[in-house]
């Protein structure tokens, strides 16, 4: 069996057994759920950033929209948690699909700036539209509902909710993995490697950037939906550009060229956020900033990039 099979097996085993080993090292299930939520959003972003080579700084827009979609769906339309997740995912995906044509022809800093601008539009809409979104105070008054299977009803307590999130994380990660091993994924990577060559092999580069952008938005929408359910709350801050920056930091820290890089980045980011903020509630971001600078300067391919390099050299 190849090394990749062992690595994947180990990752899934650790995730599936987290409820047993995490408390032993001082962790708790809500923290694990948050890691998975952000890891999923960062993996979606990484499809665009690490595999298609497009620097998006506006992924929080679709993350937040997914959250608002789920929250509003639960508030006004249904009490089905699963349907609310699906609704939030679709809202994020459709928004990215609609705004894709605005960004698909841009490159580098221009691509990044337009994605920020789009994200900020949604931020201000959410912040100002008090009657619909709850405005600055955010949207509350909804909560994740128990799952009904006919023969049993499962309340989504911390452990059950972790496995609920893990289920959707597995779907999202599975979709990304399948894509990356398909001709579509090969085309994304080709665009990252050399746009001109891709174009002169007959590939309509912009259309594929659009596709990557929409899929990343869909995954971010899914993650945002799960985030809203985790907190039973969603606020404009989830749409803010700083949240987009956090997702970029997670992808870069873990390794943009690695499938599991964003998961590693999310573990580090959320871990530092949780543990360091209990000692330095106002300065924990300084640690993230310092770590990010070190990562960019000394291991630009992220933690998994370094591990892969060493494994290759050995």
């Amino acid at each position: 069996m190849s090394r990749r099979v062992y690595v994947n097996g180990a990752v899934w085993l650790l995730l599936l057994t987290a409820a047993w080993w995490l408390p032993l090292i001082g962790g708790y299930m809500a923290l694990a759920s948050r890691v998975l939520v952000y890891a999923l959003a960062a993996m979606g972003l990484n499809l665009l950033l690490g595999f298609t080579g497009c620097m998006s700084f506006g992924e929080a827009a679709y993350f937040g929209l997914g959250g608002y979609g789920t929250g509003l769906f639960l508030t006004h339309l249904t009490h089905s948690t699963v349907l609310a997740v699906v609704a939030g995912t679709i809202v994020g995906g459709i928004a990215a699909f609609i705004f894709g044509p605005l960004v698909m022809r841009r490159r580098g800093i221009y691509f990044a700036m337009i994605t920020v601008a789009i994200g900020q539009i949604f931020y201000f809409i959410a912040e100002r539209w008090n009657s619909f979104t709850g405005g600055e105070d955010g949207l509350s008054g909804f909560s994740r509902q128990p799952l009904h299977f006919g023969f049993a009803t499962v309340p989504l307590n911390a452990v059950a909710f972790y496995y609920f999130v893990l289920f959707f994380f597995a779907i999202g990660a599975g979709v990304i993995a399948l894509l990356l091993h398909s001709p579509l994924g090969h085309t994304f990577v080709a665009i990252r490697e050399n746009r001109r060559r891709a174009q002169f092999l007959g590939i309509h580069v912009e259309r594929y950037v659009w596709a990557s952008f929409a899929i990343a938005g869909l995954i971010a929408g899914l993650a945002g939906a799960l985030n809203a359910l985790q907190n039973n709350f969603i606020s404009p801050i989830n749409l803010y550009w700083v949240e987009s920056g956090n997702l970029v930091i997670m992808a870069v820290l873990g390794g943009m060229r690695s499938f599991w890089g964003p998961l590693v980045g999310a573990i580090i980011f959320v871990g530092i956020q949780d543990y360091v903020s209990s000692y330095f509630p106002n300065n924990w971001e300084t640690f993230i900033g310092g770590l990010f600078i070190i990562a960019v300067m000394f291991f630009p391919n992220g933690i998994l990039g370094i591990i892969r390099q060493r494994a290759k050299a050995a």
């Binding site: 399948l178 001709p183 579509l184 001109r196 007959g202």
Partner: protein, 249 residues
């Protein structure tokens, strides 16, 4: 019917006239060369034909179709595929993966997220066939950026071939190569032309190579066609001798 025809084609960059009233006609199955000193407009000519940028005036016809307004990617689908003066490859991918991108585009499955096993097998077989044609089978698993310059250029040609071009445009295919690498590239071009009747239009500085293999040569100078004809006719042209070939003639 000619495969490629340029009628009164010009291209200006601001006040600079890079190409002026260029006429060029090429038949199917031929091996044509474009020569000229640095700055003569050779690469600009390739850029116009391949759709890198549009002509300022004039008409470009390919396989019976006026292609002036057709974008670069669609021109590839029509059968116009090029290589570049500075090698354009996917540097961090393997040789196999580089060629596979082109094969998938040719199979019109680049957008497919979940291909069948049969399709994947067909794609793999086609890549293997192309690597065999260009002598890259032994390098298939190597990352392209680790290859020697000459091999990288062969990879680029293989990628171009993956699109089954009706016309292959090669921009200085032997630039920067050593003697052995040049000989390999020349053999490859000759074989493609002789065995597969591949139509090839190429730019080259190596006069021995050009006069050794080209069916016809077009000479550009200061953006204008100075002469066009068989190697013998071009070599005998006093204008060419005076302006460009000098001692080489």
């Amino acid at each position: 019917m000619s495969l490629l025809r340029l009628t009164d084609v010009s291209r200006a960059f601001g006040k600079l006239l890079a190409l002026q009233h260029v006429e060029l006609e090429m038949e199917e199955g031929k091996l044509y060369a474009v020569i000229g000193p640095n700055g003569a407009g050779k690469t600009t000519l390739f850029n116009l034909i391949s759709g890198f940028f549009p002509a300022t005036s004039g008409e470009i016809w390919f396989d019976g179709m006026r292609i002036n307004r057709i974008d670069a990617a669609r021109r590839v689908a029509l059968g116009l595929v090029r290589t570049f003066q500075i090698t354009e490859i996917f540097p961090e991918l393997t040789v196999f993966e580089n060629v596979r991108i082109g094969v998938e585009a040719e199979a019109r499955c680049s957008a497919r997220p979940w291909p069948s096993r049969g399709l994947l097998r067909q794609i793999g077989d086609r890549v293997d066939e192309l690597l065999d044609t260009t002598g890259l089978t032994a390098q298939a698993g190597r990352t392209v950026s680790e290859l020697a310059h000459g091999d990288q250029r062969v990879v680029e040609v293989t990628m171009a071939l993956s699109r089954r071009p009706k016309l292959l445009l090669l921009d200085e295919p032997t630039a920067g190569m050593g003697q052995e690498e040049t000989a390999h590239m020349v053999t490859l071009i000759r074989d493609l032309h002789a065995r597969q009747r591949q139509s090839i239009l190429f730019i080259e500085h190596d006069m021995d190579l050009v006069f050794g293999i080209a069916d016809r040569i077009t000479v550009l100078n200061y953006g204008k066609v100075l002469a066009a004809g068989t190697p013998q006719e071009v070599a005998a042209d006093p204008l060419v001798q005076a302006a460009y070939l000098g001692e080489a003639a």
